[in-house]
């Protein structure tokens, strides 16, 4: 029998009052994945994570953590670490006390202790500050520290990089990478730092307007995306029509501010395209070939989601 998925959302739907927050979220996170959950503000990332972790009492569809329904998460036999947004620190207790209380609640004896996680996230010097006195980034670090306590087999992080300085981002990503590679810890992180996610995440999912619009292995998605082309001009609609009609272009989408992104067949010759654009009177301000990145994938997926 195959081991259950670390996280699974199937046809997840959720409505708050008259607002449909999640329409159709399908996610699969396998054990050992370093999974990046992406989406614009309001796409439903945090709500999806809240539903997956059983923080929302009612929703449509199915949510499981290691095969256990999220509504019964307390029955999960494996320790997990969670750092959602907001960080969820008790403002009346110090950072150290927040970690101590989490250790007590989790019955944590082995694994990383309070001192170790404080050191890992660089908060030793702030350990006696109350939760309410921390900066945004320090609050994030404290939440991550709490999630790392003990020996969690699954880490769920909601925008853990938000508010961190560049060094902090590097350190944290390096930590996640090591945990996944060396200890087989499953890490799920939602983020707007697409370049960093591309660098570390083995698998990504993109949400748009409460729907999953893209999910898969990062390397596979990037390979499938092929090469790209990005241009900027004043006549967007005209340029878009030429691009779509030109056979080597697989698809093209406007990015806003006069910019267009297109996917190309590998090795496509761009000279005929330049000639066509010039003949049509399209004044190019920028025109360059590029390898597809997660940013491109994200933009396309979001654009397609918008159209859907």
């Amino acid at each position: 029998m195959s081991s259950p998925l670390a996280l699974r959302a199937e046809a997840l739907q959720l409505r708050f009052g008259s607002t449909q927050i999640l329409r159709q979220v399908d996610l699969e996170v396998r054990p050992g994945d370093l999974y990046g959950l992406l989406g614009r503000n309001g796409a439903g990332k945090t709500t999806t994570l809240r539903a997956l972790l059983g923080f929302l009492p009612s929703f449509g569809g199915r949510c499981e953590v290691f095969g256990v329904p999220s509504r019964k998460l307390h029955q999960l036999p494996l320790p997990i670490g969670v750092a959602l947004d907001p960080p969820g620190l008790d403002d009346t207790l110090t950072v150290r006390q927040n970690l101590e209380i989490a250790r007590i609640r989790g019955g944590i004896r082995g694994g990383r202790d309070v001192d170790e996680v404080l050191d890992l996230v660089g908060l030793v010097h702030r350990q006696h500050n109350r939760g309410g006195k921390l900066s945004h980034g320090q609050g994030r670090r404290a939440a991550v520290a709490r999630a790392l306590l003990g020996d969690p087999r699954l880490l769920v992080m909601d925008e853990p990089l938000s508010g961190l300085d560049p060094e902090g981002v590097e350190d944290l990503l390096d930590l996640f990478r090591r945990l996944a590679a060396e200890q087989g810890v499953t890490v799920v992180l939602s983020s707007h730092h697409l370049r960093e996610v591309q660098e570390v995440c083995t698998r990504v999912g993109v949400l748009e307007d409460g729907r999953t619009v893209l999910e898969g292995e990062t390397t596979e998605l990037l390979a499938r995306a092929g090469e790209g082309l990005e241009l900027r001009c004043a006549q967007v609609e005209q340029a878009l029509a030429i691009l779509v009609a030109w056979p080597p272009v697989r698809d093209a989408a406007p990015l806003g501010a006069g910019r267009i992104s297109a996917r190309l067949d590998p090795g496509a010759d761009l000279v005929p395209l330049l000639a066509k654009l010039a003949a049509a009177g399209v004044g190019l301000e920028e025109f360059h070939r590029k390898r597809a990145s997660l940013v491109d994938l994200f933009r396309r997926a979001v654009h397609q989601g918008e159209e859907a």
Partner: protein, 342 residues
């Protein structure tokens, strides 16, 4: 260790490490001390008198403890009412749910911890009142001043000198006289029964002996019984605030509404409702309840003979109703929490 026990340990850790409980404790203790000082200044008495109610330990203790318990009740409404909405808003409440603790386990642990609040604060109030009054006042029987036809200051001074020589207090003499005159005991036997040294009372001094109103043991038993009766309403109070904290979105709203409901009931509704008020737990709160047993015990200790104790059946019914309410509040809170979005 079960999720509930881990949750309970966590809640206890948080309760005793948060500043809010410590601030509450300081405020209650300071409040009690201030109340005792004001009572001292108002009475303008010196310690060791014992003959007047104003200088007697028991009424002053009941008064200070009642005041402190009132502060503890208000602090409980604020602290318990505000805690959970604040933790839900900051998302701090999510952490226990990710550590193998069920929502029911968490709410049971939180509810039990909430119960500690009135008892820790109330216990501090009673202890402060007991220690403070022990320093400031002597205990004694409750007496009223004797009716003296002709004022004889010299003779009265001689009477007090004699009391000092014999190591007696006026209230002890009042109890002795009561046993001699009303119970028909011999003087020596009455003195022995009261644990007093043997003495011969000169006839001239009889007119200066105060009149016994209540024996010290009766008063002390009444106060202790009143404190014991506070168990049920204080429990219900904490769980009432806990339930409101579950129902309302912000801590300010929950603690504000809880305080307003309890105070409005005690000040305005209960006096008009008469016996009907006794069905609601707030009527029996020792500090701010309209039918507080402690207030009644204080009046008895003050020497008010018109203080009528409540009908035991009403008292028992009120206690039953209070326990039932406490149980309902707890059950409702336990049922509501699993339905909350966190």
């Amino acid at each position: 260790m079960s999720g509930f026990l881990r949750a309970l340990r966590g809640e206890l850790y948080a309760l005793f490490h948060r500043r809010s409980l410590r601030i509450g404790l300081v405020l209650v203790v300071l409040g009690v001390l201030l109340r005792m000082m004001l009572a001292r200044l108002a009475a303008g008495v010196i310690p060791g008198g014992g003959a007047e109610a104003a200088a007697n330990y028991w009424p002053r203790f009941a008064q200070a403890a009642g005041f402190g318990l009132g502060l503890a009740e208000l602090a409980t409404l604020v602290l318990v009412g505000a805690a959970l909405p604040r933790e839900i808003a900051s998302a701090a409440v999510r952490d226990p749910m990710t550590r193998g603790i069920s929502r029911v386990g968490f709410v049971l642990a939180r509810g039990l911890t909430a119960l500690l609040c009135p008892f820790v604060l109330g216990g501090a109030a009673v202890l402060t009142a007991a220690l403070g009054c022990a320093v400031l006042y002597d205990g004694g029987h409750v007496v009223s001043a004797p009716f003296v036809m002709n004022q004889q200051p010299e003779a009265e001074a001689a009477f007090h000198d004699w009391l000092a020589e014999e190591g007696l207090r006026p209230d002890q003499l009042a109890a002795w006289l009561y046993m001699v005159e009303e119970d028909g005991l011999e003087g020596a036997a009455a003195a022995a029964a009261l644990g007093l040294p043997a003495f011969e009372l000169p006839d001239d001094y009889y007119s200066f002996i105060p009149i016994l109103v209540f024996l010290e043991d009766e008063v002390a038993d009444g106060i202790h019984a009143a404190l014991a009766q506070a168990l049920a309403p204080l429990t219900a109070l904490a769980l009432f605030a806990f339930l409101l904290s579950m129902l309302l979105p912000t801590g300010a709203l929950a603690s504000g509404l809880a305080t307003m409901l309890v105070v409005l009931f005690s000040v305005f509704l209960a006096p008009e409702m008469g016996a009907g008020a006794s069905w609601f737990f707030a009527d029996w709160l020792p500090g701010i309840g309209h039918d507080s047993a402690l207030k009644l015990a204080e009046r008895v200790a003050e020497g008010y003979t018109d203080s009528v104790p409540p009908d035991p059946e009403v008292l028992a019914a009120g206690a039953r109703a209070t326990w039932i309410q406490a149980g309902l509040y707890f059950a409702a809170a336990t049922a509501l929490f699993p339905r909350k979005k966190l």
